[in-house]
């Protein structure tokens, strides 16, 4: 009896360790500054129109950091129209102070962009920022017949504007900016302001049930017979 209890406790601890490991394993622990709170919202206002640029033209977007944190990635939403485009796009991120300071530069083949399937994300070494800093994303199009980016119908984002060949447009690109956050901050977001459908208490119950199920499954994995003569 004592042996069974100890065994059950060992498996339960193993399962708990596994879940803790998963929570800590967060290779892209970023969160979006400009984000849509639900799937449908992404179609409006951020995907209201498209912005077209031909070979040699530059598409840009300014943004402002909303608070202190570690800026780590930028994502842009491209439509399927780029499917037939050949060539590449140069992605650059600048600190928008005078003079502009280059943070990151990368050349990406158009065929590798996520066409209409969510964001194409460019990551870089996390950058410590404070509230109100200005940044600028620049895409230089080296593709024929050109490149198309989803954009808002109007001025959806107040921290900056889209630009075409340096000329300010009265709208914004469909884009997101990501920050790194600590596990503690992530958990606090999860248990307070969150888009999960059931709320903190039922979610905690589901996680505990998952933990018990993992323990039972681990036990089965350790005792199954690879071959049977039956």
């Amino acid at each position: 009896m004592t042996g069974s209890v100890l065994k059950a406790a060992a498996y339960a601890l193993g399962a708990l360790g596994l879940l803790a490991f998963i929570f800590l394993l967060r290779p892209i622990n970023e969160t979006a500054v400009i984000q849509q709170r639900s799937g449908t919202e992404i179609s409006e206002p951020y995907l209201g129109r498209t912005l077209n640029a031909s070979g040699g033209q530059e598409i840009g977007q300014e943004f402002t950091t909303p608070g202190p944190g570690r800026l780590s990635a930028v994502g842009i939403f491209f439509p399927i129209l780029n499917r037939d485009s050949k060539g590449s796009v140069k992605f650059e991120l600048f600190n928008n102070d005078r003079p502009r300071r280059l943070i990151m530069r990368s050349e990406t083949a158009v065929s590798r962009l996520s066409n209409n399937e969510g964001l194409t994300i460019w990551r870089f070494r996390p950058l410590q920022v404070t509230k109100g800093e200005k940044y600028f994303i620049r895409l230089t199009v080296n593709a024929e017949p050109g490149l198309t980016v989803f954009s808002a119908s109007g001025d959806a984002y107040r921290g900056g504007n889209a630009r075409l060949d340096g000329k300010r447009l009265g709208r914004d690109l469909a884009f997101q900016v990501f920050y790194r956050v600590s596990p503690a901050e992530l958990w606090s977001r999860l248990s307070s302001d969150m888009p999960n459908l059931v709320g903190p208490l039922p979610l905690s119950i589901i996680v505990v049930a998952l933990w018990a199920a993992v323990a039972a499954w681990l036990h089965r994995l350790l005792t199954f017979r690879p071959y049977s003569d039956a």
Binding site: L18, L19, I22, F23, L25, R26, P27, I28, E30, T31, A32, Q35, Q36, R37, S38, G39, T40, I42, S43, F77, I80, A109, S111, R112, S114, N116, E117, G118, L119, I121, Q176, F178, V181, L186, R189, L190, M194, P195, N196, L197, V198, P202, L203, I206, V207, A209, L210, A213, V214, W217, R220, L221, L222, F224, R225, P226, Y227, S228, D229, A230
Partner: protein, 432 residues
């Protein structure tokens, strides 16, 4: 739920019960964590359910889809029963139907593995693990959408087809016919089943014919009536069957399953295949568009490549048992063909069916890209079970006896970590 678990245990599937329970709880977690309307085309499918439930079909500007009405009809009772709930809680309740379907798909993968390899605990344990922890499949099964039921009904079709090939039995034939009817009404992408039926018929007709010849006159009369009912049913189903046939220009349906060098070139071109592969394994949450890290895809690709080599080894060893070449100085080259045992025959037939399924799904996905709007990696998910079976069989051939217990453990734990990290490391940071 407890009746389901008891039923599974009764049929000798005790070893799979803990995994099925885990799959259901995991699916509940995914259903809760996936933000409202974050699933692929979830809003349009919600409009379908509203329409079937007799409400105004337009939802947030979306009109119902033109897919079959089997899925919305099945979930409509949940939708109507949760009328007093908030919209988010109602969505969560309807999503839970996917948790049940997911457990059934995993169970079907176990049953199919057990039919083909009755003595291999390794394959019976490994194949369901691969299905249970596919990160993309987990998100699809946590969403509202007809793919939830389509993947289940195609997995059921493959199970009954396999079971029938292995043990021809009128009951199994009837179950297969019922699955074909429901599948035909579910979604156009069920067309994949028809070429497989034609392929399997070559083996099924003589097998079933032999069985029927041994029946008494009463059983034959019953079978004749069943045939009449089937033909009548097909007549009724003609509009749905016509939709399954589709048109090449529309980019969907049986019409696209014909040789086209464009499709071959598309898959050979690299970026398309890579994109489909990445989306099949881990492209999360519809419009959020979150991919796994590149290294993870490389590891998955390496494991699958090893499994492919294993399948080759398995096929070679089986062929060597049947066809034996010899050479001696006196007699020169000799060729001996041993009689094929029933076990070899059924393993060969079923592997051909599983491989053909994957080939048809891959061809159809390419056709969507060439003739239709565009292909998505999730279209390959209807092949989740055959892909898992072939992978498990391949890994079995490569795994030495002393590692037969260790490999499923390592694979299971790694895939579980990958699966849950889909939420903690990829979805949460972007959405929460």
């Amino acid at each position: 739920m407890s009746a389901f678990v008891a039923g599974v245990a009764e049929r000798g599937g005790k070893s799979i019960v803990p995994l099925l329970v885990l799959v259901i709880i995991k699916a509940v977690l995914f259903s809760a964590m996936l933000p409202a309307w974050g699933g692929d085309d979830e809003v349009a499918y919600w409009a379908d359910i509203k329409e079937v439930s007799g409400e105004t079909a337009i939802f947030r500007g979306y009109t119902p889809t033109n897919h079959g009405r089997v899925y919305p009809t099945l979930v409509a009772p949940i939708y109507l029963a949760s009328k007093s709930f908030s919209l988010e809680h109602r969505l969560f309740m309807v999503r839970l139907f996917g948790a049940l379907m997911y457990a059934l798909i995993v169970y079907l993968s176990f049953l199919t593995a057990r039919e083909i390899w009755p003595r291999s605990g390794f394959i019976q344990m490994t194949a369901p693990i691969i299905v249970a922890f596919n990160p993309k499949l987990s998100f699809v099964m946590a969403s509202v959408g007809s793919d939830v039921f389509l993947i289940f009904i195609l997995s059921a079709f493959l199970y009954f087809l396999t079971a029938l090939l292995i043990r021809p039995d009128p009951k199994r034939a009837l179950a297969l016919a019922a699955v074909v009817v429901v599948g035909t009404l579910t979604k156009q992408r069920f067309f994949i089943a028809f070429p497989l039926l034609v392929l399997a018929s070559a083996a099924l007709v003589p097998l079933l014919g032999k069985k029927i010849a041994s029946w008494g006159s009463q059983a034959r009369r019953r079978a004749a009536w069943a045939a009449v009912v089937c033909v009548g049913g097909l007549w009724q189903l003609w509009p749905a069957i016509k939709s399954l046939i589709g048109t090449k220009s529309g980019g969907v349906g049986l019409a696209t399953v014909s040789y086209d060098p464009q499709i071959v070139r598309l898959w050979q071109s690299g970026p398309f295949g890579e994109q489909m592969f990445r989306q099949f394994w881990g492209f999360f949450a519809g419009s959020f568009g979150i991919y796994l890290s590149a290294n993870i895809y490389s590891i998955i690709a390496a494991v699958l490549l090893a499994a492919l080599v294993g399948l080759g080894v398995r096929t070679y060893l089986a062929a060597r048992q049947i066809i034996q070449f010899g050479f001696s100085a006196e007699a020169g080259f000799s060729l001996r063909v041993n009689p094929v045992t029933p076990e070899q025959m059924r393993a060969g037939l079923t592997i051909i069916v599983q491989s053909a399924t994957m080939a048809i799904i891959i061809q159809a996905t390419g056709a969507y890209e060439i003739y239709g709007a565009s292909a998505l990696g999730r279209y390959l998910l209807v092949g989740a079970v055959p892909a898992a079976l072939l992978t498990a069989a391949g890994l079995d051939a490569l795994t030495p006896a002393f590692a037969k217990r260790g490999v499923p453990i390592i694979l299971g734990l790694s895939m579980f970590v990958l699966n849950i990290s889909g939420i903690t490391a990829f979805l949460m940071p972007v959405v929460y």
